[in-house]
Symmetry: C2
Subunit: 589 residues, 2 copies
Amino acid sequence: MTELGRYLDAGAARIPADLVIEHGTLANVDTGEFYPADVAVYQQRIVAVDADVSAYVGPKTRHIDATGKTLVPGLIDGHIHVECSKLSMTRFAQLVLPHGTTSIVSGLDEYISVIGLSGLDEIFAEIKALPFKVFWGLPYKTPYTMPKSTIAYNVTGADHERYLPQETCYGVWETVREAVAVQDPDTLKALELAKRFHKPIFGCSPMARGLALNEFLMSGVHIDHESYSHEEFLEKARKGLHVVLRESSVTQFLQENIRAITEGPAGVARHTSFCTDDVTAHDVLAHGHLDHMVRLAIQAGVAPMTAIQMATLNGAEAYHIDDTVGSIAPGKDADILLVDHPGTFNVETVISKGTLVTQAGQLGVPFKSPKRSAALQGHLKHALLTPEEFTYPVNRETGTATVRTIHSEGPFVRKALDLDLPIVDSVVHPDPAQDVAAVSVIERYGINQNHAHGFISGWSIKRGAIATSAAPDDNNLVVAGIDPADMALAANTLIDCGGGQVVVVDGHVVALLKLPIGGITTDLLPEELAEKELELKAAAQQLGSTLPDPLFYLSFLPITAIPDLAITDGGNVDYTQLTYFDPILAVKS
Amino acid sequence: MTELGRYLDAGAARIPADLVIEHGTLANVDTGEFYPADVAVYQQRIVAVDADVSAYVGPKTRHIDATGKTLVPGLIDGHIHVECSKLSMTRFAQLVLPHGTTSIVSGLDEYISVIGLSGLDEIFAEIKALPFKVFWGLPYKTPYTMPKSTIAYNVTGADHERYLPQETCYGVWETVREAVAVQDPDTLKALELAKRFHKPIFGCSPMARGLALNEFLMSGVHIDHESYSHEEFLEKARKGLHVVLRESSVTQFLQENIRAITEGPAGVARHTSFCTDDVTAHDVLAHGHLDHMVRLAIQAGVAPMTAIQMATLNGAEAYHIDDTVGSIAPGKDADILLVDHPGTFNVETVISKGTLVTQAGQLGVPFKSPKRSAALQGHLKHALLTPEEFTYPVNRETGTATVRTIHSEGPFVRKALDLDLPIVDSVVHPDPAQDVAAVSVIERYGINQNHAHGFISGWSIKRGAIATSAAPDDNNLVVAGIDPADMALAANTLIDCGGGQVVVVDGHVVALLKLPIGGITTDLLPEELAEKELELKAAAQQLGSTLPDPLFYLSFLPITAIPDLAITDGGNVDYTQLTYFDPILAVKS
């Protein structure tokens, strides 16, 4: 008897259910109704949703009493970089499942950057063992950086030819508008193959309007998660995009974008959903995950049913995963939440893939991390560094250098700020008085030993150094600071321990988070990680920085897509021109 | 420059549009709004939908003035057997395009029955040359008949392995509930492969409710087009099916099923759409096609926007073809209708794949049928028949035979009616006095020379014979009548001409429709065919039959899925048991 045959038998009640949930109110997102219904579950799937499921009850069937509770489908995060949380897949699932997130859509692009596409098998095996689902989209290409920085593996069109037909691949992940606009051949190949294999294209087009948006839409892109205003959000919805509303730990866009729904036409909500993109363990522990977004939407004036549909069915349909998730219906995975009330939306009990994960808030299953392969435990491939390697030499012994600094005006706005810095002993020195620090990005895959130097401003760093090997999109080693010796110690500390984040002051490591899984994630418990991150943040702020989270800003410096400037192992990047620039504009006496 | 590259350039207005449609009101089905908008089209696709598209206008751009008109996306028929119209693909497109149907979803299962899967390449080539789209689903298996009758090619699980990954294949067509319930291995294989390749399963589950429906849903089926009541319709929608509302030439279900929308919860419409399943040229010419369904829905109380969404976007999403069709948005095919008013919904101008097909009701393009290959023009593979071959011999010279007749109580209800018939010269004779005629189904693919004999009642046939080679699901030769000589003449006439439909009285052919394309369709103009069909109907009724359309009833006799009885080349079928039965129950003196 095949698995399908067994499920057919269970649907016909020839095999009794493992579990029935009785006396609850069903949130039927398919028809937009609330009404009383019982649910029967066999193994991983729902087999019946009816007024009476007693035909499915056998002697060993477990009963859950849902009196007074609302049954809601498991929540879906439509776009998230799990790795950004710095938690392993197992720990991330452990973090978000109690909040009702039973499925996520993810590109696993950071794992690809450190262990390549073939390395993902290890991550897929980890996912499979969890009561949690990851719908994977193959990145349109890697790295995302333009110009290309160095990573362990470059995804190209040939990979799309191989992976898009496969069951594990649900579409093309995070297709960046600029890559389409320049008609990058690998990107175009990915788009053509997505059309051929009927898999959706997930897009990324912040601030695209009018002609630029029309051009991007010709790519066949189906989904977009980057709207900076409710007008942009509405234009995208009107032009046929499924628009994913983002509320990440750094960009809180819900309050603005939700206006497209609360003030816009009634029909727009149907093609919208939620995502968190990048979240910290701390924020999820403090506020929640998708459940938090549902509550925020309801507080903003969205009807509870509409908010629930946005967190479940709407995204499931857009990603073509509604055969498995998105509603409580026979044949779908048994991802079912017991919620106190649709309007207050406190998730009390979570069933995922038929497993009772939490009941009345108590974890009902162990989350055990798998053994990691050597590939994922590998050290950063770079020799130890000297302080001299963190200086910027010029061919003039003294004087002044006019430098272009990468000036942070917020986590996602970086502008050019040209300043004069002193030259001492043929080296351009950072200048705390002018709020300028030095920055290095060091290639760490053992491919080319790249080491790019630059300057950042607007961070208020007065001394010491900070470093991180968790740094999308390429996860090279990023080091910033005032003192070259501290910068070298910060870098070497991470090279020594296989990666992580560190704060160094006056020759001492004052805070260290090890990220032994590929140098980007850890199996620490979410609570442990959240505490560590607070320590790191406090330590980094003791360097004088007034930024809300200096290590977070640091880790995002190599993302070229953040306008206008970035720095990767290849050099300082002007994203408005998609070119490298020399930060030393001029030297004079 | 690739095709995609050109479209990107056109989207960015670096290449001028071929066509702009100005001053109209857009029916935006994505957000459920009507508002003024202009549309720019380049080649086959829409490149802009904006308040102002002047940036897209070049010196050669054609302008269409849509003042006072509503722009509606091309309509989609979600489930149709084109072959049932007896028109070739070219002529069918010519028939329905002026009514705004620019896309259909079809299994081409009847073509498969006569020329096999490889033969479809010829049909796909015909479609490609038309301003018309057919989204093809590979039948879950062929033949649909249970037990299996004889056809030119049996689709099995191995075909799904080969075809489901292909671009031309959009899902699994018409998966019959009974085949799932008996866990037919080929059917289960098709279902498992559909899941693997992320392609939707189209189902067929008339009157499935409760446990039977739950069991069917465990198959992963996503769409269903067979509801006999609005309660059934609503139960299916609530359990997560996309429900396609059918209004065919024989089963008018709209009036009943639309109540699920007009009386049901507001949210149900989103997961519903329209189909016509089987339509005659006459009905389309007289009433319209999908446009007729939109008008009927509006008359029944559905809001015009909702009815338009049902005819466009809703189905497009369910079939995962909304990357190409379903709304007027950049990147989608330029399938655009100019309609007088959303409430009256008269289709005046039709643009399909960027081609102006009809303007103000006038055909703007020629519809030229392609040359047919020998495979499609082949004659029926059977030797000429003698009158003796249409008699039912028994091993008793005279007396009475108790026979089980297939009693027609309507086009889709056939019950067993047991009657005594006279035996003369060792042959059981049909008996017009008791309203019993003889029926034969003759295998016509040259495979096994099957010839099944049976009896029908309730047709009021008094003399002569009728025959058809167009007869889903297997398109064998079906002959019914009173006089064996007339039955032989009817059969031989069709064998002679390569197939069709014929009426014979007293040794004369009184009406003949040739169907030279595979014995099932013709390149006659729709108007010519409609006239021929009226002639045939009138001639058949002159045999004494009081049925509304005897040849239609005849052609459906081999469909085993019509409860309770059927007859195929394999024999008389009791569908309640899925077995053959001997119509001679007893012989006596």
